[in-house]
Structures are given as C-alpha cells and as structure tokens.
Amino acid sequence: MKHEFRVTVGPVGFRIGSDWKRPLDQLSALYADYPAPDIPDFTVRLFAQRPWRRFIRPSVMIGGDYMLPDAAPLSLAHGLLAAEMGMNLQMALGQRRYLLLHASAVERDGRALLMTGHSGAGKSTLSALLGERGWRFMGDEFALIDLDSGALHAFPRLVSLKNEAIAVMEGEVQSDRLGPLMRDTPKGDIRHLRPPKEAVARMREPAKPALLLFPRFGHAVDIRKVGEAEIFVRLTQASTNYVALGEAGFDALSSLVRTIPTRAVDYPDTESAVASVERLWAELAE
C-alpha cells in the first residue's frame, strides 16, 4: 500500500498499510519506543472505499487479515482510531497463541492484577492511573494468558481514553504523551495515551496472575465475593477466542478461575478505586 507502519505490542507484531500518510505519522509518533517486527502476526489496511474518496470527503475503511463484513468507515480525522480498531480486530478475531481476555492489567513484584468488566466500568482508566502510581502498566484492553504456563503476557498498546477519562489522565501525565484529541467519534471523544517508557521496555516480561477484579464505576464503595462458576462464565464472555482454543482454552481458563482470588468492586470515583485496589492487593494477592 502507499504508506506503511509496523509496530510490535507485547508479543504481537502488526503491519499497518494506509492510503493516507497522516494516521500513520500519528501512530509512529505515539509508538516511537516500540520495536518493529520483521514478519508481523497481522496485517491491517486503512483504505478508501473508492479511489476518489481518498480526497473527497475521505472516509477510512478498516480491513486486514481478519475483517467484519459490515464495519462502517470512519472519517479521516479519526484515522488514528481506525488504525487502533483495526489492530484490536485482528487480535479479537485472529489471536490463537494466547487466551485473550478483554481485561486491563498492571504488575507489581512479578505478580499481575487483572481487571475486567463491561465497557464503561473503568478498567481502562484504572489501569492507566495505576500505571502512573507505582505499578507496571501491562495493557488497558487485552490480557494474554499463556496456554501452557498460565502466565499473563503484556499487551501495552496505546491507552484509548474516552470522554471523562481524558481529563483524569491529562491531570496525571506530561502532555507529550497524549495523542490528538478526536472529538465526536462513534465512541465519543477519544484521546490516546502513550504508556510509560518502563511499560514498553519491559513489555516482553510476563507476570503471574495474582488478583482478579470486576470493577464497576459510579456506585457506592462495595466489595463482593464472586462464585467460581460465575467467574468462569464472566471470563468466557470476556474472551473472544475461548471457544476457538478448544481444550487448551478450557484448561487455561479453569486453572485461572480455581487459583486466582477474585472480587467485584464498586467505586464512586477513581481515587477511591485506587484505594480499594491497594487494600485488596495487600489482603489477597497471591
């Protein structure tokens, strides 16, 4: 394709081709510290629906090795978001090496805290915030569970900050770590955050899953136990490749569920969430 950018996130390499230069320039600025793969795991394509649509009301179609049949295009101003969506899509549909959980993760002392829940539950913001407060950021979107060892592999892609989370993190980090503010995308306002240098430098170091939380934002502080069967079901729902992995996926997930301490956590604001996380970590982390 006309323009190309390559990046390795955790153990996964991507090749992104584009009909336009700008989204790739934005990507390469934000992913400056990440290595480029020789042979990528996945190819993503950002292309114009018709040749003239490269220039006239340009809209970005998202394609690649794995595609959804009816993915709607995005405006060129949201090209960076399109690239990220394309990369996520490859992971969601094509990843077979690891059990993929839709979860965020941070690490301390070689042990990992996993957070999963519906979008809007705050797992992404919480992981980004913890990443600035003494934890190693391992990823805000996907956690990769090793099918043999059960270890967690980092996938520290750019953090995709949405709406209110943008202000929270603007107060927390240097502005040169933030991408362009994209207003009125299909998901609302979006701004990407470059993970801390250490998170990138150590992204090939796995960690042992030590605590699993189901956070829920916007409720009074509450901490509940969750039954094993419910945890299992919630994690299968949070995984895009559990079924496709067959017995290896079953083995990895059932082992995780039987060994990891788990709690559901409600919190009214991010500061109280950080406090709850620290307390639960001290009490429970294995």
Partner: protein
Amino acid sequence: MNAPAYRADPPEARYLVALDGVALIFHRPSGLTHILAPPAPQILEALAEGEAEPAALLERLRRDYDFGDSDDLEAALEARLAELETSGLVWRA
C-alpha cells in the same frame, strides 16, 4: 416398554472440573463447554455402563444415591435427559 434408551460418550470424552457445587465439563467431541448441576453429571456417569432406558438408568442411580421415596423421579429424570439431549451430551440409541 417403549421408552427410548439413551447413550452418552465414554467418560474420557469429557474433561470435568468441579467448581463450587457445579461441574464444568469440556466435551471433547464438540469442543463445547457445559456447566452442569447435579444430577446431570451423575447421569452421564451412570450411562458409562452402557445405554439405558430411563427406568433402568434410575435403578443404576439408586445404587449410589439416595433419592428418598418420591414417585415422580422418573419424570424428573426424563426432563434432565431431554436437557442433556439438547446439549448433545446424550442421544437416543
């Protein structure tokens, strides 16, 4: 007797993990995961001896479990068998 006989895959076709009170079953021929509450796992176990009609199956289960004296046990068993049939874990011989 016209009741159909039921069959199940041999035990090695299933990978069973016990999770607080329920059985998590990975069914190898289908690659599907099932969460089963008692007595469904016990029914599968009893069918390991070979296919059986509901009445005979109930006798097998009675050997190991005490169900008391309820008279609609066979109907309850047939309902469980129908669920297991839908999920593909048992089928009519």
